[in-house]
Symmetry: C2
Amino acid sequence: MLIECVPNVSEGRRPEIIARMAELIRGVAGVRLLDHSSDPSHNRSVFTLVGDGAGVERAVLTLFERAIADIDLRTHTGEHPRLGAVDVVPFIPIEGATMADCVALAKTVGAEVASRFGVPVFLYEDASDNPARKNLEDIRRGEFEGLAAKMAQPAWAPDFGPTAPHPSAGASVIGARMPLIAFNINLATDRLDVAKKIAAAIRHSSGGFRFVKAAGFKLEDRGIVQVSMNLTNYEKTPIFRVFETVKREAERYGVSILESEIIGLVPSAALNAAAEFYLQIGGFKSDQVLENRLRTEK
Amino acid sequence: MLIECVPNVSEGRRPEIIARMAELIRGVAGVRLLDHSSDPSHNRSVFTLVGDGAGVERAVLTLFERAIADIDLRTHTGEHPRLGAVDVVPFIPIEGATMADCVALAKTVGAEVASRFGVPVFLYEDASDNPARKNLEDIRRGEFEGLAAKMAQPAWAPDFGPTAPHPSAGASVIGARMPLIAFNINLATDRLDVAKKIAAAIRHSSGGFRFVKAAGFKLEDRGIVQVSMNLTNYEKTPIFRVFETVKREAERYGVSILESEIIGLVPSAALNAAAEFYLQIGGFKSDQVLENRLRTEK
């Protein structure tokens, strides 16, 4: 069972602190650190790690211990909104793991963080049953500076831990979500209005697909426009359906697709689903993919 | 580096012999036995195993030792053509392995089999530089019964080992090839002539794609026809190109595609290539597939 975890930490300016965190994660048995990146203007670092449930739990607790020792939100500045030293911790099902496994892990880790470090924890996304606590943006609104006043309201009592922020480490948002796919489609036109209309047609917030966030941009240097998207649940809103809809909407304006691009990582299953759709493969099972067999067979 | 190996052994009737061979392969460090199947009428068993080069080499040599002790071609009968106790051993590049790695491994194992067991070895497919020795069917023509006479001709001197067959174990054909994909397309018609014409259009032997073998069949119980294919090099003749060509040829007769099917295993890269094509993904790198990163990153 493999679970991905992408902790966001409120430190992006002191390389030695960040390097030590990466080193600690690498040292945890049963975990691989796939990537980490830091943004000094955001003053924030993102770690991408993968492992079994127990390994990922150990890595996150180790990271909390270090971050609480090294980071003081009272003197922290940066462009990116944040509530805590370890700001956000999503658990993501990858292989042999279900969303239920990740929800359970988020709750276990949340309770442990609260009891061990005295940091209040808010559950979010699939780990929260409260509609007002699903969206990270809603929980984080007001940031660290507004947190004490926000938590004084009964509606903002945390899911675990004290009802007031940790003095230096604030609060943490821990939850479970599907892998996110960053998918862009470049159009063979310089008409920004076309990209914006297509983005509006496909995104959830304006009536489109449930798991699509989208915006239209101009790529000035290339003289073309782009529909830039985040696909937040590729099982329920698959890439191919989004692609075909964008293509059809673009036809309406006499515009064709130049190319698409996937930024960063994509789960194999998301690409396989597209192959199955276009090749009209019937009765396909994921264990027919040779590499999946390599990981499951004795 | 992962290499697949699919040894074909001339024993498909004695379950205890076959089970012992499977057990021996399972016991080799660095190797996984993914599958094995036996056909009593063919009197033949096929093992599918995967591992690093050294592991796969150990497994094949272990299998040879057992097969030479247990199988006597002089009393062997079966419908499937065969030359030897271990009849054919292809090495197939999977992950982080190249065709050159597999060719080198075929030559190492071939030399070892010849010197250790006195069994003559013919290299085939990519492991052979001799155009007359590329095709398994050409090497195997005449079978075990005709082997002594065939090997008496200078053109049929083996690549390794004695110039006469091993008395009971015959000779072995060892080589390197790409993974084979068994891909069928069902047409929404009962017209067998349409399936046969399309098969003729796409297969290499009658002017079609270099790495396609194809035939048209009737699926009597469903009242439809099928274009049944083996794709022998999915990198050079990709699935999507074959699919699109079949679809276009079928249109010529007013026939549409009902569905396709993949029989058995397919490498992830073959499906990803189809996703890239249809979604017009530009600049895609295989290490963007999350699962590929899991296998390569520290």
